[in-house]
């Protein structure tokens, strides 16, 4: 017979009420787990894409915070970048989220400067690469091939133009696997934005140190007004969608925490008032007030922790389902780290304690004499 056993008996004593409380906590925690995993996964898939491309610095327009930064004239910026020490290559990129089939979900379409280093990290699994900067063709990622049901020899319609699919590639970045890719020249024509890019990717030479990188950032910043020079990590964390996703997961965490704590609070308050006589008895047989409080808090933490554990499982399922939705496929990769799961269990413990604290204080104030006289 231990305190925890007694707490567990008390939780099981009202199975329906305990189950409802556990379910409420579990639903909240599931939402927290799914949304947070998706927000982080979203960030990390963009990070992966930048890492895979071996891009060191990125130049975009200042105002832009979209997933796809707004386009600018490449010629305005490129010469200055090429003058900087350690700059090995500057590669233009124009991309857009576009609808590429009548019924399918929208997909990323990238236009990459022909012959630039960007192409080098891709692995061709079928067909061939575009033969020149002017060839009106696309290559598509393995995941895009699956979701669009297209293969080499098929055609895709993009903004009213028809593009033959000449190759299928694989990338280590999920975002790219789900995308369609053509040359920058073709993309500029298709989008009717000649000479424009929305990102300039800078690759530095191998001897460039972090101080060099910072120095280049500073130089460019002083000389180019209206532009950002960011490391790829900075670009991703400034991305509006990433920020919205993170903010949503934070707000969800806050709401789920509050609602969970309130549910636990309500349940424990009811439980304490029902068990007034028993609490009086515990005090009468020599339990300290602190021990009674530990019992009540153990019960509330037991409820919250059970809800938290179930919520983590449900969150896994929820995130996997969301990930499989046509709209989301290839754009996110939910991220579950052990630390994150531990933090969620920690959150459950905290909300259990928060919900149990006042009922525990209330229980400790019980007068054993009054309680034992009561009918």
């Amino acid at each position: 017979m231990t305190l925890w056993m007694l707490a567990w008996h008390n939780i099981r004593r009202r199975p329906a009420r305990s189950a409802l409380t556990i379910a409420a906590v579990a639903i909240g925690i599931a939402a927290v787990v799914a949304l947070t995993a998706i927000a982080w996964g979203f960030e990390s898939s963009w990070q992966q894409a930048n890492d895979a491309r071996a891009t060191d610095l990125i130049v975009t327009r200042q105002a832009s915070q979209n997933t796809m930064p707004s386009p600018f004239r490449e010629a305005d910026v490129r010469p200055l970048l090429m003058q900087q020490a350690h700059v090995q290559q500057v590669a233009g990129l124009l991309s857009e989220m576009l609808s590429v089939s009548e019924d399918g979900p929208p997909a990323f379409v990238f236009g990459w400067e022909y012959g630039s280093y960007l192409w080098q990290h891709l692995e061709l699994v079928e067909g061939r690469w575009p033969a020149s900067a002017h060839e009106q063709v696309v290559v598509i990622g393995t995941l895009a091939a699956q979701t669009l049901h297209k293969g080499v020899g098929d055609h895709v319609d993009i903004e009213g133009l028809t593009f033959p699919v000449v190759g299928i590639f694989r990338s280590s970045a999920l975002v790219e696997n789900g995308a369609l890719l053509m040359t920058l020249r073709q993309m500029q024509q298709t989008m009717d934005k000649p000479g424009k890019v929305n990102v300039l990717n800078i690759q530095l030479d191998a001897s460039a140190s972090e101080t060099d990188e910072a120095q280049i950032q500073q130089h460019v910043r002083q000389q180019l007004h209206g532009y950002h020079v960011l490391t790829s990590g900075e670009l991703v964390s400034r991305n509006a969608v990433v920020r919205i996703a993170k903010a949503m997961s934070q707000v969800t965490t806050l709401i789920a925490g509050l609602v969970g704590a309130l549910m636990v609070f309500n349940t424990m308050l009811m439980s304490v008032s029902e068990r007034r006589r028993e609490i009086g008895l515990l005090l009468a047989v020599g339990w300290r007030k602190a021990m009674v409080m530990r019992l009540i808090v153990s019960e509330s933490v037991g409820l919250a922790l059970t809800g938290g554990a179930l919520g983590i499982l449900a969150g896994f399922v929820l995130a996997s389902v969301l990930e499989m939705l046509p709209l989301m496929r290839g754009k996110i990769d939910p991220l579950f780290s052990p630390w994150f799961l531990l933090a969620v269990l920690g959150l459950s413990v905290v909300l259990g304690m928060a919900g149990g604290l006042l009922p525990a204080l209330n229980a400790a104030r019980t007068s054993p004499s009054q309680a034992l006289r009561g009918e």
Binding site: M1, T2, L3, M5, L6, H9, N10, R12, R13, R277, E278, L281, L282, L283, A284, V285, G286, W287, R288, K289, M291, S367, P368, S369, L372, R373
Partner: protein, 228 residues
């Protein structure tokens, strides 16, 4: 203060003493106790009788430190209650309580109910609990729940619970009040056997004059006072 004679025995020190204990409810409108002076010797069996509402339960609650008096003093073996730095510890180590309404926890089986007062000690007391349950004749029902027991059986379990921490004083408030005469007789016999074999001091509130006559001494109360 202890008075030890040459052989080391404690003599003349009562186990419980009270002086001018008063207790009121409803902001002084109801006087439950009006100056109770009491002296109980070690090992004594005292029966407390008196009409309903005369303050018997109130007195036991004050002695068990479940309640604070308005005025007056209480001593346990010469130590004033207000000087005790740990009242929970005092209850746990020295006081055993038996109630008319049993007060067993319905969610716990017989064995766990008996172990309840020992939970805060963290000690492994299951063997001792089984031993006590055997002495009250309930050792064959360890895994059953209070709802499965008769009133007399429940009271026997409650008695085992009161004894688990080896108290010095047993305070019993109408322990046979809810029982038929056969069960009541059994429970009383059990209490007197246990009291003798364990050297317990016992204060028992009862309405039954036959039971009261078996005590070493009877205390009669009326209107919050001891009258005999």
């Amino acid at each position: 203060m202890r008075h030890d004679d040459a052989r080391g025995y404690r003599v003349n020190t009562p186990i419980l003493t009270t002086k001018k204990l008063t207790l009121s409810f409803d902001e002084g409108r109801i006087h439950a106790l009006n100056g109770v002076d009491l002296r109980v010797e070690e090992g004594e069996f005292v029966a407390i009788t008196g009409p309903s509402g005369c303050g018997k339960s109130s007195l036991l609650h004050l002695l068990a430190a479940l309640e604070e008096p308005d005025a007056g003093q209480r001593w346990f073996r010469g130590c004033a209650y207000e000087d005790m730095d740990d009242i929970a510890c005092f209850r746990q180590q020295h006081i055993g309580l038996v109630f008319q309404a049993f007060h067993l926890l319905p969610t716990l089986n017989v064995l766990d109910n008996v172990l309840l007062p020992a939970v805060p000690t963290g000690r492994q007391m299951a063997d001792h609990a089984c031993d006590l349950l055997q002495r009250v004749g309930m050792d064959h029902r360890l895994q059953q729940y209070p709802a499965q027991l008769s009133g007399g059986e429940r009271q026997r379990v409650a008695i085992a619970r009161a004894l688990i921490n080896q108290p010095d004083i047993l305070l019993a408030d109408e322990p046979t009040g809810s029982l038929d005469s056969v069960s009541a007789g059994y429970v009383l016999q059990l209490l007197s056997e246990l009291r003798q074999s364990m050297g317990l001091t016992m204060l028992m509130v009862t309405h039954d004059t036959d039971i009261a006559r078996q005590a070493d001494r009877q205390i009669c109360m009326r209107d919050g006072r001891v009258i005999a």
